[in-house]
């Protein structure tokens, strides 16, 4: 590992390419061909960069770190106070950004193929969604984390608003209100951490933290509370889950793929930051655990009540965020690996389900299980994809959901909390019920509409099937060879547990 690279070439590109692409796309606005070329080329470039890049740091603006003795250094492995903003690109970041950029490519392709006119602004917002996710997962600086979360939430509001329907406008307004709230909360947490330690860089802040001073430690408790508030918000955990479900349910299904990827990455990133900064405080892990258990339980129960496939998926995404945070908040190596792996798998199998949902949206002209039925006859491959996605989501081998859930169950048993294992099991069983309620009604129930010909929707873009096939391939690949992904996640988990001050 090249730990001491402090000017890794690839890191700025992950941010600058989406920014330039977004500006260009927004100016192009309605020129379809130029938009497609720009968007596809930029997202391909992001995939290539994420694969080729080695691991290391980037200190933006080239300022050195100040050694405790007073000199300056450019070496990242020496103890020093960073003057510059620090990003870290490691194995966890690599797999996260690689997946996000692949999904970005798919989403962009589908958006180009299925939307009418004026797509420039919308696709530029999709690029910015990717950018905010990349910022949050790579950054090692509390100040920058705050900016990343804020720009991310404004972009989410924009992506939702692009549908132009009343439901999405309401969802966006509510979501922005909470973005205001949690942004202010994160700013207060930043103020408190700065006041206590004087450093915004997370590594430096951990080293400078006055844990011995009881009166100052109480400042950290409040900072912890505000950070958890923004964590809950960014990841859509309980009790903000109804809003997040609104957002997921009212955006286009293909946009929801990117939104949930962004939210999962934020969940992982902020969760790891909380563990690193506040993991030693009493009650920190307990608070995080109870948030995750509540989220899982409420999300999955609410998913069962929904009568629209989009909303079922929205609540399931929320409840599976609880699985991710469960692993992270256990705070053990196995738990964190399970949580991170669950995040990766979740992004993939939920994308399969969401793409299937998009297909239903075209075929059935809607996704309500009351009005849409008998799709399997017209689109058998869509049904197969949806069923595979459902199997993966409910943890059936040989799909990827199984591998991560079994790690989570083992981790919670080893932690001494068999109840958590039961909760994980119940979540996967209930996921199965909720999904098959929808899938049965939409795909398998005989078509009871009198004029079936009239109900025929438009043909599904062929691109959607290609993307589905690729995602199902990843699902099975990770299900059969989980080590492919776990090898990327080990390092991050070990660092968080044993050397939290190293990003």
């Amino acid at each position: 590992m090249n730990e001491s690279i402090s000017n890794l070439w690839s890191i700025p590109l992950f941010i600058i390419i989406p920014i330039l692409a977004a500006i260009l796309l927004n100016v192009l606005y309605s020129r379809k061909r130029a938009i497609s070329v720009t968007a596809v080329v930029s997202s391909l470039a992001l995939i290539v960069v994420s694969v080729l890049s080695p691991f290391g740091f980037h200190w933006f603006t080239g300022q050195p770190a100040v050694l405790p003795t007073g000199g300056y250094t450019y070496r990242a492995d020496l103890l020093g106070w960073n003057l510059a903003l620090e990003y870290y690109y490691g194995p966890l970041q690599q797999i996260a950004i690689f997946l996000a950029s692949v999904l970005l490519l798919f989403v962009v392709l589908i958006a180009i193929n299925s939307l009418k006119k004026n797509t420039g602004t919308y696709i530029s917002l999709l690029f910015l969604t990717f950018m905010s996710a990349a910022i949050v997962i790579m950054v090692n600086d509390f100040y920058h984390l705050w900016i990343g979360v804020e720009i991310g939430s404004l972009i989410v509001a924009g992506v939702v608003l692009a549908t132009g329907e009343a439901v999405s406008q309401k969802a966006a307004l509510k979501y922005t209100f909470f973005s205001a709230l949690s942004g202010a909360g994160l700013a207060i947490a930043l103020a408190l951490i700065l006041g206590v330690t004087g450093y915004a860089n997370i590594s430096d802040a951990i080293i400078a933290m006055p844990l011995n001073d009881a009166s100052l430690a109480s400042v950290l408790y409040v900072a912890f509370g505000f950070t958890v508030l923004s964590w809950i918000y960014a990841g859509g955990l309980a009790p903000i889950h109804p809003l997040k479900a609104d957002v997921y349910g009212s955006a286009f299904p293909h946009a929801t793929i990117l939104l949930q990827t962004q939210s999962k990455l934020m969940l992982v990133a902020i969760g790891l930051v909380i563990l690193r900064l506040f993991g030693t405080l009493p009650f920190a892990k307990e608070v995080m655990l109870s948030v995750s258990v509540l989220t899982m339980m409420i999300g999955v129960v609410m998913a069962m009540l929904q009568t629209d496939f989009r909303w079922t998926l929205a609540y399931l995404i929320v409840s599976h965020s609880g699985l991710v945070t469960l692993g992270i908040s256990l705070g053990t190596v196995q738990g964190i690996i399970g949580g991170l792996f669950q995040a990766v798998n979740d992004v993939v199998y939920m994308s399969v389900l969401l793409l299937a949902c998009e297909g239903i949206y075209y075929f059935g002209r809607g996704t309500s299980i009351k009005t849409v039925s008998g799709i399997a006859k017209r689109a058998p491959w869509l049904a197969v994809a949806a069923i595979i996605g459902a199997f993966a989501a409910s943890g059936v081998p040989p799909f990827n959901g199984f591998q991560s859930e079994i790690i989570l169950i083992q981790a919670s048993l080893n932690y001494g909390m068999p109840e958590l294992a039961i909760v994980v099991l119940m979540v996967s069983v209930t996921t199965f019920i909720a999904l098959f309620k929808g899938i049965y009604n939409i795909f398998l129930r005989p078509d009871d509409a009198p004029q079936a010909g009239e109900k025929q929707g438009m043909p599904v873009p062929r691109m959607l099937y290609v993307c589905l096939a690729a995602l199902i391939f990843i699902t099975i690949l990770f299900g059969v060879y989980p080590q492919l992904a776990i090898n990327f996640l080990n390092e991050a988990a070990l660092k968080v547990v044993y050397i939290p001050w190293v990003p």
């Binding site: 100040y143 705050w146 900016i147 804020e150 404004l154 509001a157 924009g158 608003l161 009343a166 439901v167 406008q169 309401k170 966006a172 307004l173 509510k174 922005t176 209100f177 973005s179 205001a180 709230l181 942004g183 202010a184 700013a187 207060i188 930043l190 103020a191 700065l194 006041g195 004087g198 915004a200 109804p242 349910g249 929904q306 009568t307 629209d308 989009r310 909303w311 309500s368």
Partner: protein, 124 residues
């Protein structure tokens, strides 16, 4: 006895502003009033951040002819707080713009600004 000083008062005012903002967002039903409450909240955060940079007998962090370059690091205000305030102002402006824009659109649609009417929960 707590000694009353400038920093103490500013921190106290910041806490009061933050809680008034939170309370306003919680208790007021009018969407525009909620947005105003948010700006109060954000101002409270700004005040806390500015106060963080306070240095007893400090000077503004601009080098003017005649000041001492060696004494500047200890005398000048802490740079991080005021810098973050700039960011917070920008974020506040953008968030407020989005909130107001969507509120305008929803007002066109429903003809009311009441959050309990416009933004009541609904399921499909």
């Amino acid at each position: 006895m707590i000694e009353l000083n400038l920093q103490f008062l500013s921190f106290m005012a910041a806490a009061v502003l933050v809680v008034i903002g939170l309370g306003g967002m919680l208790f007021l039903d009018n969407l525009i009033k909620k947005i105003i409450a948010f700006t109060l909240l954000s101002d409270g955060v700004n005040l806390a951040l500015v106060t963080l940079g306070y240095v007893e007998g400090g000077i503004v962090s601009i080098l003017e002819p005649g000041t001492s370059g060696a004494a500047f690091p200890t005398n000048a205000v802490l740079i991080f707080g005021p810098g973050i305030v700039l960011t917070n102002i920008v974020i506040g402006v953008s968030t407020t713009a989005v909130l107001v824009a969507v509120t305008m659109v929803l007002y066109q649609r429903y003809g009311t600004l009441k959050a309990s009417k416009v933004l009541k929960g609904e399921r499909k």
